[in-house]
């Protein structure tokens, strides 16, 4: 039973008996196999993206086919066809601007919930969290009608505003937990020394909170970049985002596997990069700050 044996705490001394050592390395191998199984579809996608369309569509699959950049040339529109740059730039705009706005709103709010807390601050915190649990899809229609009547349809700013609101609860929760780690004694000491509030914030709080701000930003970025439903409903030709661009590959178009793989990989790259950079804080963001 793998589950039983693996409960040994990581801090335990290495097993000395040969049987235990054998079991331990066997479980290490099982873990490696599981890891490889999970990452295999992704690796296969990357490999396929470097194959020619003909090699990508063989059965059985061709592992050792020659590598080519053809599908990347095709994807970036070098052989004619739609250029992916406008959607990529739209996604970048929506994600980066909304992330900055989220931080701008979340950091002061988190300050008022941790360093100088308002009364009943836990209630406020839980109100933020509860809004995240209601499915935004239920507000889709009024938001669509509002955008339509105000000329915000097919406008990237509609998504910027929505994504900012969508990520605010997570950002407030994460920032609150990071700012709560700043020792109050340090702040008081600085104030006794005559430092004014902006100086305290810039010189004392910011250096301690900076890794947390970075992690929060990365997670907001990922959620905005990934979003499909609102982008699909609210954008058209001009403000189309990268995930909406990807939906163009939903129906099969002859031999196009290598191109699908290249497009999926390129569009996922920013998320893969942000996710691996924020790996240690990922769970905190995803669990809305409940788990550290």
């Amino acid at each position: 039973m793998a589950a039983v044996a693996s409960t040994a705490p990581t801090t335990a001394a290495p097993p000395s008996r040969p049987v235990a050592r054998l079991r331990s390395s066997a479980l290490g191998i099982v873990a490696w196999l599981a890891g490889l199984a999970f990452v295999a579809p992704l690796l296969w996608m990357v490999l396929t993206s470097f194959h020619s369309e003909a090699d990508a569509a063989t059965n059985p699959p061709s592992l050792t086919a020659p590598l080519t950049l053809d599908s990347y040339r095709e994807f970036f529109g070098l052989n004619g066809g739609a250029s992916p740059w406008p959607p990529l730039i739209n996604s970048m705009t929506a994600s980066v601007v909304s992330t900055l706005l989220t931080l701008l709103l979340a950091i002061p709010a988190a300050y008022a919930l941790s360093i100088r807390p308002v009364k009943k601050w836990t209630d406020v915190l839980f109100f933020f969290l509860s809004t995240k649990m209601l499915p935004l899809v239920a507000g889709l229609l009024p938001i669509y009608l509002f955008a339509k009547n105000t000329g915000l349809l097919d406008n990237i700013w509609a998504l910027v505003i929505l994504y900012t609101a969508m990520n605010l609860p997570i950002a407030v929760w994460m920032m609150q937990s990071f700012l709560a780690e700043v020792p109050v004694a340090i702040i008081e000491a600085a104030q006794i020394d005559g430092a004014r509030l902006p100086t305290v914030l810039g010189r004392v709080v910011a250096p301690i909170a900076l890794p947390g701000i970075a992690a929060t930003a990365l997670i907001c970025f990922i959620f905005s970049w990934n979003e499909l439903l609102f982008a699909r409903v609210l954008t058209g030709v001009v403000a189309e985002t990268a995930p909406v661009f990807l939906t163009g590959f939903i129906t099969s178009q002859g031999l196009f596997l290598a191109k699908v793989c290249a497009a999926s990989f390129v569009i996922s790259l920013p998320v893969l990069a942000a996710g691996f950079a924020a790996q240690d804080k990922l769970v905190q963001g995803l669990s809305l700050g409940a788990v550290k």
Binding site: P14, I143, L229
Partner: protein, 291 residues
């Protein structure tokens, strides 16, 4: 005055979020009481609860409620179980642990549409997908070559989602395992407790709230899933869940009143889930604060 100075930094975030995300729910609630097809805007009229009657009476819409439940329960439970096994495997020292952890997280870091496309075209394709390719390579000429998506549409969607959500569960449960008290376990071992006893009497009770958290947060995210259903089956073959149905009812059928009634039903379901979720988060949170 001082109280307002303390509250001031909070207000912009609070106001912004309420206006953008909470007011639309109120509007949805109001629209749900109207008979309103966007193609006939002049025929808008108040109909009371008749939209709710239509939603619950419509076989397709009723089915999408059932599909949502089935999809959510399957994906959450299977990824929770796999996530638990993986977390237990990772909660030990072995060579390359960090690398394996990174490999396991990777599926979660694919754009959801990209992941769904990968499963739909690259893995499930009946003629040259990887799965049938592997079956062919192993089984030779007589190998089965199923058309995965047509033969088991809901399972196809579930498989793609389980692949993406197992890392999420693993991360939460791994955090839970690593927050156990090592001294307690050592003491139990000193007293001669077996691995199984330690697991049942110390690890599982400690993990309980992390398991609950995984189930609830997973449910909240999966209930809202649109990307996988939209991409893999386009809601066909009986895989339309409520978010997809709402999207289709208003975006393609232009039935604003019906879509809103369906939206309100989703909100009610989510509130029930959220009540439990908030309780779990709050108990973990109070523990952290009091620490």
């Amino acid at each position: 005055m001082r109280a307002w100075a303390t509250r001031a930094p909070l207000l912009p975030a609070l106001v912004f979020m309420i206006v953008v995300t909470q007011l639309p729910f109120v509007a949805t609630l109001v629209i749900s009481f109207f008979d309103w097809n966007a193609l006939y805007p002049d025929d808008r009229s108040f109909t009371g609860f008749s939209n709710y009657g239509d939603v619950l009476g419509d076989a397709a819409l009723r089915k999408s409620i059932w599909t949502t439940i089935l999809l959510t329960v399957t994906v959450v439970l299977v990824s929770l179980l796999l996530g638990l096994l993986l977390a237990l495997l990772l909660d030990r020292r072995f060579r390359g642990r960090a690398a394996v952890r990174t490999m396991l997280i990777a599926p979660f870091l694919l754009v959801p549409v990209a992941a769904a496309l990968l499963w739909k075209h690259v893995l499930f394709n009946p003629e040259y997908g990887l799965f049938n390719g592997i079956l062919n390579a192993i089984g030779g000429d007589g190998a089965a070559q199923p058309d995965w998506i047509s033969e088991m549409p809901l399972m196809a969607v579930e498989a793609a989602l389980i692949w993406q959500w197992t890392p999420f569960m693993m991360l939460i449960l791994l955090a839970g395992l690593q927050s156990r008290d090592p001294q307690l376990i050592e003491a139990a071992r000193m007293d001669g407790a077996s691995d199984w006893k330690v697991f049942v009497h110390i690890t599982l009770p400690h993990l309980r709230r992390y398991l609950e958290l995984g189930v609830l947060l997973g449910s909240i995210y999966i209930v809202q899933n649109f990307d996988a259903v939209f991409t893999i089956t386009s809601g066909g073959l009986g895989t339309a869940n409520l978010p997809y149905t709402i999207y289709q009812t208003f975006y393609q059928a232009h039935e604003n009143g019906l879509a809103s009634a369906a939206g309100v039903i989703v909100v009610i379901g989510s509130i029930i889930l959220a009540t439990f979720a908030l309780r779990v988060v709050s108990s973990l949170f109070r523990e952290e604060v009091s620490r």
